[in-house]
Symmetry: C2
Subunit: 468 residues, 2 copies
Amino acid sequence: MRNTIYRPELLYADGGFIANGEVLVSEDGQFLEAPQGVDKPSTQIVDLPGKALLPGFVNVHSHSFQRLIRGKSESRIVSGKDFWSWRGTMYHAASQLEPQDVFDVARMAFLEMVLAGTTTVGEFHYLHNAPNGEPYDDPNLLSKQVIAAAQSVGIRIVLLRTAYLRSGHELPQDPGQIRCFESTSAFLKNMSTLIHDCSTTPSEVRFGVAPHSVRAVPLADLKKIAAWSRANNLPLHMHVAEQIAENAACVREYGSTPVQLLSREKLLGPDFTTVHAIHISTDEIAMLAEANATICSCPTTERNLGDGIIAADHVMAAGIRIGLGSDSQAQIDPLEDARELEYHLRLEQQKRAILDPITAQTLASRLFDCTTVHGARALAIPGGTLTPGSFADFFTVDLNDVSIAGHSPEDLLPIIVFALNRSAIRDVVVNGRFILHDEKHVLQDEIVSRYKETHRKVWQNTRRSDSS
Amino acid sequence: MRNTIYRPELLYADGGFIANGEVLVSEDGQFLEAPQGVDKPSTQIVDLPGKALLPGFVNVHSHSFQRLIRGKSESRIVSGKDFWSWRGTMYHAASQLEPQDVFDVARMAFLEMVLAGTTTVGEFHYLHNAPNGEPYDDPNLLSKQVIAAAQSVGIRIVLLRTAYLRSGHELPQDPGQIRCFESTSAFLKNMSTLIHDCSTTPSEVRFGVAPHSVRAVPLADLKKIAAWSRANNLPLHMHVAEQIAENAACVREYGSTPVQLLSREKLLGPDFTTVHAIHISTDEIAMLAEANATICSCPTTERNLGDGIIAADHVMAAGIRIGLGSDSQAQIDPLEDARELEYHLRLEQQKRAILDPITAQTLASRLFDCTTVHGARALAIPGGTLTPGSFADFFTVDLNDVSIAGHSPEDLLPIIVFALNRSAIRDVVVNGRFILHDEKHVLQDEIVSRYKETHRKVWQNTRRSDSS
């Protein structure tokens, strides 16, 4: 086995940076103990002058195919139906996709993530059926397309296969959702088969269980799915409290909000990630903290959708871990998501340094943890850190990029978190292998070209303006 | 005279894009009428395949030297004094700068603007004196350093020379501001001399008059300065209503808010730009609209400072033009500023498409105008547009960049406004000359290297944490 030592100019460590640090990576893609006593002759050295090395970003919540509606959904026509108008556009895109398209669009989104320093994506995947609503011969065909896309790009994926059983309480099936529906038994069977089928794929592929929401999964089914997930030791992810209307519908059906329901039914736990969790009360924050659950926040999407501002101050004060997701792909910029956790509260409260008032470094470190270790924890992978035993997933930044150049030792992390532009990202390594080298991804031209074809195909027959 | 025709794949026109369009540029750097009948043999052709061509961004409000405090001011210690703690850090940086440093830091900020597609900067310049508070032998030395920096980088500059007379009503002079203070007569004399001294510089240099704020300029002086500005036909810029405390101080001194005072004294007008204008009432919006004044909004700075959210919906509904500024250089990203005008209102109101509900294209066009034509109008330059007679200031974007690739004809502008990353900017042309060519600025390495030296010098003797 040939190990590799990476020697950047500055190495991320404990919320700051150290000069002359190095990391040792095994051939099978894990960080090893610091290199004292290493048999140097058998160890490859990679010098990274002028660069800082940081743990890769973890994108906890992605719907890759929604990249197709970027720029298409910035209008509204029916007052009070804003989100559903956006959803109509999104379902239109979803209805058009052949398996090859699912692959091509996912590669485009994953490539953009990699270019932004992301090394792991949690893909909350709910497209299962053919456009006519029938399962494919292999009911996991589209899941496998998304996994293949991740492998093609080189990003680590946790496929959060989504259970989507109904349009809502006492609602008829929405034709826009026919590619999503499965019964609970089919979902569990398909999930088992998928994991089995992929058992020989590399360690970059893992799985999680994603009951879509309390709207789409009735309580009895949710209990079965959660029990199955726990028996199989998988992470559980669910959309929770993104919009007020969603909470109100849950109250009508169950007499309680989603978080109250999940708490009462003992469905929350350290393996549970609530995605969004914007409209939650102080009591509900306490319930999530008590259960040691994670919240996945998606600020660039949430500001695009007009969802509202997560109370990250109260959430962090309660000790709840926050991970981050690019969700609708309105933008793919993990650090913009991180800084918005803080910035949106500054706008609301007209104060500064809300999530940590002590120093810029401690504040930046808190936000950086959201993009890395808390995300890795939510996806149940040993990542988001450079410590021995973790996956060797990391990226480098050019210390001369105009967005971050010039720093004292203590303020490089604040500059990166609050101002880094994607142009500074130079190399991305997943499982010890370069997937981006000096800003270049070997498949970039092909991926972009195929994506543009797919975009044309999906939208060519629709002279609809995006307001329709 | 040799003219040039630029032929991009897509040409910006009226809020959308046209294929096979072209623009004709004269040797002295103006757009000319469309090229029918042009004497082709004497005309140079520049083909720009795979690129879209758009009018350059206009940055209405910049304090270039504040680039030095990026990442340094993300903390607070004294409750209720958040902004002033930030200001303490800023004054510390200002106090350290030798004339050469002013040049080096300005070049760094201007370079980052150019890399983001900016072709004009309005530099609100208030550092005039030596570190000891005495005027330099040439009292315009630092203004000239900033102008020289713009010329070195190639960006068009409107130097908004700032009048700064006092620390505040009934306040002693703040030692942090001694580099700013001038008497009104000195200010007017220096301004005249500066314009005279620069009368032989190229057309990329223009001037404006910037009474700092009602706090720093008493009413009687403000009247003299505004009269002088109007006699000389220059644009007038002033900080107005950024924070609630500033309004309250004005009420204490004059019995009215800044906007009420400016309106009552007939100081507002079509040549007047109020910078920030966040804390203004419906009546005050009507006053600004009635006077046909411009507002310069700086959302990325305002979210960093916790200033609050401008009511862009009411402001636009009243017909007031909004320009945009990078202000403190917390980030330099004109499109992020543009989209935040809309996004911050979505967060506040939990609705979508607030500034224009009709189509994504009309909304994007409104926001794009803020980054271009409205800014040019505020700086009194014929720019921000590709129309004949305007300055030939523009940039190109790579249509294959992952942030924007894939579009229908009607949604390229929405994709650009809501998702473009700086990595897509390829070429920047000012006055008909390339200053960025295929992402490269010829002086980039030198500018970054000198900036890093300045940063080290300014902060080396301060082991203060940024919370001090």
